[in-house]
């Protein structure tokens, strides 16, 4: 025990020695020695962080408000929202703390509101089928663009890029024409199919596939690997970062999808959450708030798990082609 202790002391000393040596090696310009420079840097950083903190308030405040309001009791919500609902006299009095906190809204929403379940699973189904479709269709296409050379590749890729740039409002009518002619209007396939063939994930995964050295693929081909096995054994694992970032970005976008279902789905039982939520009357504010919180949960979950990939994806989308 004693020996161990001594060793630690020695270890500490060597660390200290090394630290001092290192500090000597780092070239420090003359300004750095002055005390006021350090103080100034400290205050500059402090003020930066304080500004960032103040600006972060509007980011989180709305979420906090939803959370806090969702556990307020029905009566409290009614009195709280009265000025907004009646658009008459009185001023809104916000209180973060609820007088009678209750989980009743969640209970009622989850156990006595069957349509919420339908809509929730609609959303889940739409998002997962879209992402699955993109995995099976978009990613091989990205691989083809990244790994093969063929005639007309540049033109095709430019075409994909252009399609990526067009907003939904422009492709709405073309999609409608097609969906109508194959009688898919007012089915969930009308929302899913056009999104599956979106070219954005192709572009994102293409970027990560491009980073795989071509020599590796050539070597695999020389060794007699088929194109399919090269894709599965080399492409997928090496490009997994790009694939995951496309999935995370896709999930956040499609979970929030509004324009497509609004245009292509008339039947309200087919709607996703993002359209159902605003439909809830403000008189049932408790239910709307509880549903809001539940809608937020999967998105936050994916955000928390996939934040690195999300950032990678954003950065990759910013790289100029």
């Amino acid at each position: 025990m004693n020996v161990f202790f001594l060793n630690i002391q020695k270890f500490k000393q060597t660390i200290k020695q090394e630290w001092n040596d290192n500090m000597k090696i780092i070239p420090i310009s003359t300004v750095h020695h002055k005390a006021w420079f350090r103080i100034r840097t400290f205050f500059r950083r402090l003020s930066c962080n304080i500004t960032l903190g103040i600006l972060a308030i509007p980011v989180f405040l709305p979420v906090m408000m939803v959370m806090c309001a969702s556990i307020k009791s029905g009566n409290e919500l009614t009195t709280l929202l009265a000025p907004v609902v009646n658009s008459g006299a009185g001023e809104i009095q916000w209180n973060f703390f609820s007088l009678y906190p209750t989980g009743g809204h969640f209970f009622r929403l989850l156990f006595y509101t069957p349509e919420f379940f339908t809509v929730f699973w609609n959303s889940m189904k739409i998002v997962f089928l879209i992402l699955l479709g993109q995995l099976f269709i978009g990613i091989p296409a990205a691989w083809a663009f990244a790994a093969f050379r063929f005639r007309g590749k540049n033109i095709l890729f430019l075409l994909y890029l252009c399609l990526m740039l067009l907003p939904f409002q422009v492709t709405m009518l073309p999609s409608y024409v097609m969906l109508n002619s194959i009688h898919l209007m007012n089915t969930q396939a009308a929302v899913i199919l056009p999104a599956v063939f979106s070219t954005f994930p192709v572009f994102l995964t293409y970027r990560s596939f491009c980073e795989i050295p071509q020599e590796l693929l050539e070597a695999a081909r020389m060794d007699g690997a088929g194109e399919g096995s090269i894709f599965l054994a080399l492409g997928l694992p090496l490009g997994s970062g790009g694939i995951l970032s496309a999935l995370v970005l896709g999930f956040l976008d499609y979970w929030n999808m509004m324009e497509q279902p609004l245009a292509f789905l008339q039947d309200k039982t087919l709607w996703p959450l993002s359209l159902y939520l605003p439909e809830i009357d403000i008189a049932h504010a408790g239910r709307a708030l509880a549903a809001s919180v539940i809608t937020l949960i999967p998105a936050t979950f994916v955000f928390a798990l996939g934040q690195d990939y999300l950032e990678q994806g954003i950065a990759a989308s910013g790289i100029k082609e």
């Binding site: 658009s87 063939f197 100029k320």
Partner: protein
Amino acid sequence: MKSYRKFRCNYRSNGNPPRSDRTHRSKIYNGRLSQSRALFLLPSLTGVSVFVLFPFGDVAKRSFQTAMTKKFCGIANYTTIFHNQAFLLAVTNTARFVVVGIPLLLVLSLLLALMIDGSPFVQGWKSVYLFPMAIPTATMVLIWKLLFSGNGLLNGLLRKRGVPPTDWLGSDASFVVLVFSYLWKNMGYTIVLWMTGLRSVSVERKEAAKVDGASRLQCFLYVVLPELTPMVFTITVLSFLNSFKVFREAYLVAGAYPQQKMYLLQHLFNNWFTNLEMDKIAAAGVCIAAVFLIGVFALQRLWDRQE
């Protein structure tokens, strides 16, 4: 500019041997897609052509036909939409939104990115500002209504300060709501984009400038900013694309027929679609696609020449 050249080269040659080597044609590369390789691209290409390309051609054809009888009518549809009050209003509003919103977003997020870059909690701040991206628009509707309605929280706050309250959703101030929600949603995305740009600025050049006695502002203006210019193009294009999604907030908060200043092209398309005015959508869609693509390529050309 260095980075730009590199990527451009990547795109053209894609990591393959340089052009001079391409004359060598082995079994591996014969210029055409072999069957097994074509299978990778085929499903996607088929889907894209079936759902977008061919129908888009059809729509382009329709834009020269009457809606009901499908007779050729020349550019009648185009003249109709350019004399349509609603279309002109929507175009002006969208243009105003883009002209005000995007520069504001770019400048604000650059400032924030610089601040975050200098702080010790880079990752934490990034996640904080990215979080609104994850929040579904629908969850926020009720809160936006609470904040911005006539007797809402924002007006209550203003009244306490002695500022006369405004009708945020019913007057011209609705434009402010629109821009605010756009900034709220897209700030994080743009900050991350700027951060990647800031990280690629060489540390040596910054240090050299500092040693030569440049102030922080000079260092930023003459060293960092020139290296960021290639990013401006992509960030502008991406912000422009995302600006079309502001419709979600606008539609949910204010409905299909909002206050005049808030009436965007997206509202118009949606309303035309529900009224089945296909000839107008076709003509307007073709116009917007043209403006979009020409705009992007013109910007790119402009940028190419600058370098």
